[in-house]
Amino acid sequence: MADNSPQPAFPATRREFFHRSASALGLLAFSRFAPAFLVDSTLAGAPAPERDRRILVVVQLAGGNDGLNTLVPFEDPDYYRLRPTLGIPKDKVLATGGLFGFHPACAELHRLFQDGRLAVVHGVGYPNPNRSHFRSTEIWETASGSGESYPTGWVGRYLDNSCAGSPGQDRDPVAVHANTLNGEPLSLVGAQSHPTFGLSPYSGLGGREAEESRRLLESIAGAAGRPGREADFLKQTLMDTLVTESRVQAILKAYRPHAVYPGNPFAQSLNAVAALIASGMPTRVYFVTLNGFDTHANQLPKHANLLRVLSEGLATFQGDLESHGLDRQVLTMSFSEFGRRASENESRGTDHGTASPLFLLGSRVRGGLHGAPPSLKIPKNQDVAFTTDFRSLYTTMLEDWLECPAGGVIAGSFPKLPLVT
């Protein structure tokens, strides 16, 4: 392959690659330079995910959600002892017929709970909790123990274990993230490279010039240069982006939701997720973030707003899926890096805490309360003890929902919960 050959030395586009590989050009000869989508899809050679496979939507409540004021133990005098000003009055709580009720801003989630499509797991956390946002988020995203550091995320390892591309076809993203603060979440990072896509409210160029621009960029981006980790990473991301971009734009434009999504970015992201699911995109995991839960001061109005956004967004999403007949295919799970301190602070807020309840939503979810509520018989400024390890939830999602043995994804063995029907 001399440099002065009429063709570029390396296939510049996916189309050209498949054309050329059909004419028996060895793939491994240039695998070092080829974009990820070319290499690992060919090596893996596994069938494409089927369209009706199950989908997991992970909703991150970033900042540390105050679980005690989300699912309120309104019959527990210790709750009001620890929360003299922030406690939600019993007559405001949306009761569920037991000892716990929902924050008044969660009307829609309350309704879904009453209908049996929402499960809440009490006291989810892990031993030796870390109170740093970043470290604790890392622990949740990588499913590590408190004292361990893993380079990959739990969803990424799931993708490593179960996913492969579909050579011969445009390779769609196996994981999609939306509304995240720092780009691709660590959760989605695997040991292998997987095509992922970040949804942006922005829609790019249109028309003929756009197509020409994409083609030219594909041809020069695919060209070999000095190999290097950063350069290769950029090339891969750009090549995957260019291909997915035009496709996703067409899908979002054509989608007609059967429900009216609120205008906030979180709900709009869920709207886009619904559109991609409805399009039959083989994406297995969606990751959507709702930010702002770090309520150290004057928490009541802020937290109520956040819960309203969460509740309205999730309920609209669920309704939309149901009216499209997609609801039995989708399960939504929330998480937050920690709950907040049981006792309120002196700034009408709450500081970093430990365990908190976690939501599961969907038509295949076994609704109701699960696990054991943490005891509030604790002195001021002490944290509640977790009752369910978050890796039990992951194990359940992997095995009972995504039908993937958890052994290769989660280190250690954690009992499952009966959450999926």
């Binding site: 922005y202 070999a224 240069g225 950063e230 350069a231 991301t237 971009e245």
Partner: protein, 506 residues
């Protein structure tokens, strides 16, 4: 906990000699361009020539010279500061809740628009070649000592925070840290204003140790609790001045990081600077901001940390040492670092000889989509940087910005305020906010091979290789006979070079 740095690749120069100055023989065009791109935003051919001529030491001195221009407080920010007490009074005295809400809504709008104005002014300031390196250094330090508009919607407090960093950013680090602990923006951002003798709020003390000074693993939960007591009573007056509320301050005995006494906030900071971890922490942050994804391993940080401590944490010494070091110029760090969105845009402005477009909607919003809203980092850790900048959404946003700069500005689509801003910016003389035809004209006279060569050499930090050139050539050659089509294709080729993966590196 295992240190995430432990898995980093080892630099090619051993820790003992990594921080020695680059030998004169290593100072060439490549090294000079590397310094200019990394310390500032771009490597203009003339600046590279000058740096080569003057030598490394003089160039580093010049880039970070003390006593340069300071970023002045933008008018709308000052106006808001002046008017805010009246606005708040009017809101309190409003006749009905609806009127009050309306007043508050207007105040929020004014804050947001003042922030956007400050974003544009800062970009204009930082785009000045003489200010670039110092402005970037301030951006770096503000990415350590983070405050954010989201929590502190007072642009004048954010301005003061940046200003104090700019004024102390090349002096002794402990003085900077102490000044930051008194910064009204910080006092509000990390809830010091809620922290009382009876009820210390841990937020500031925790981040002081974890994210400003020492790094995780170098302090205990108890240190955080005790240190929080020392910072009780830190307040900001409505006028924005620091004051210590004695009645709220806990002046009792505390034990922090092994030192016991009636420690106040400044003394806690001094105690922390007594730890080795304080010496190696900032060099680690520097490496992640300026050098390479993920930073450098412990032994390299520690080697510099020891020397820096011996210099009593002089930031001026640190900056000169960092940017003169053999490590900084090591081959593995050349052209292999992903540009931040601000570097991407300001580099583009300098590379293309443009002025910062004074329209927030067209500049500040793209920066946010690319992941870097100035004065509003996502959380107290600041921007992680490196690969974190890049995902499909942020790449789309980078491309969209390039396309905007390469198209003719449609002024009819601007609102009246925006047209006025453009007019004011132009009144100082002819100014290009978008790529002018004159920039492309020299390329049009060239043969396609030569045009490709010019584009590649001018914009990319490393040669992208023959396949890249051939792909570009296949698009440009044979040159279309129609001049308009020829111009269009040349423009498209230039835009594509800038949208290519290679241009995202520096």
């Amino acid at each position: 906990m295992p240190d995430a740095y432990d898995t980093l690749p080892q630099p090619s120069i051993p820790p003992e000699s990594a921080w020695d100055p680059l030998p004169a023989a290593g100072w060439d065009r490549g090294a000079a361009a590397h310094l200019l791109r990394r310390a500032g935003w771009s490597a203009e051919p003339e600046s590279v020539e000058r740096a080569v001529r003057e030598g490394m030491e003089l160039t580093v001195e010049r880039l970070f010279a003390a006593g340069g221009a300071v970023f002045p407080m933008p008018g709308p920010v000052a106006d808001l500061e002046r008017d805010l007490p009246d606005i708040q009074r009017a809101a309190r005295q409003a006749a009905t809740p609806d009127v009050r809400r309306q007043i508050e809504q207007e105040a929020r709008e004014r804050s947001r628009s003042a922030l956007l104005d400050m974003t544009i002014r800062w970009l204009e300031f930082a785009a000045g070649p003489e200010e670039s390196a110092r402005a970037k250094w301030v951006l770096f330090l503000s990415d350590v000592y983070v405050v954010a508009f989201e929590k502190v919607p007072r642009p004048f407090l954010l301005y003061r925070h940046f200003d104090l960093i700019a004024r102390r950013g090349l002096g002794p680090a402990p003085e900077l840290t102490k000044a930051v602990s008194r910064s009204p923006a910080m006092i509000h951002y990390l809830d010091l204003d809620q922290s009382r003798r009876e009820a210390p709020n841990e937020n500031f003390a925790r981040e002081l140790f974890e994210l400003f000074l020492l790094g995780e693993g170098n302090y205990t939960e108890e240190d955080v609790k005790q240190a929080a007591r020392a910072f009780t009573g830190y307040r900001a007056d409505p006028s924005g001045e620091f004051r210590l509320a004695r009645a709220q301050h806990d002046d009792g005995v505390k034990t922090v990081l092994g030192t016991t006494g009636r420690l106040d906030g400044d003394q806690v900071i001094d105690v922390a600077y007594g730890l080795d971890a304080a010496g190696s922490f900032l060099p680690g942050e520097w490496a992640r901001f300026y050098l390479c994804d993920g930073g450098i391993p412990g032994p390299w940080r520690e080697a510099l940390g020891r020397r820096w401590r011996a210099r009593e944490y002089d930031l001026g010494w640190l900056v000169r040492t960092l940017f003169s070091s053999r490590l900084f110029y090591a081959p593995e760090f050349r052209g292999q670092f992903i540009k931040s969105p601000v570097q991407f845009y300001l580099g583009l402005v300098q590379d293309l000889g443009l002025r910062v477009m004074p329209v927030p909607r067209l500049i500040a919003s793209p920066l946010r989509r690319m992941g870097q809203a100035l004065f509003d980092p996502p959380n107290v850790r600041g921007w992680v940087g490196g690969r974190q900048w890049i995902n499909s959404a942020s790449l789309q946003a980078r491309r969209a910005l390039v396309e905007m700069l390469f198209s003719r500005l449609n002024e009819d689509a601007l609102d009246a305020d925006e047209r006025m801003d453009l007019g004011i910016a132009r009144s100082g003389g002819a100014a290009d906010f978008c790529v002018p035809d004159s920039l492309l004209s020299p390329l049009l006279g060239l043969k396609p091979e030569a045009a490709v060569d010019r584009l590649v050499r001018r914009f990319l930090p490393e040669d992208p290789g023959p396949a890249f050139r051939e792909a570009l050539l296949a698009y440009l050659a044979p040159a279309p006979a129609n001049p308009a089509e020829r111009r269009r294709r040349t423009k498209r080729a230039a835009a594509s070079v800038i949208e290519s993966p290679h241009y995202q590196l520096c």
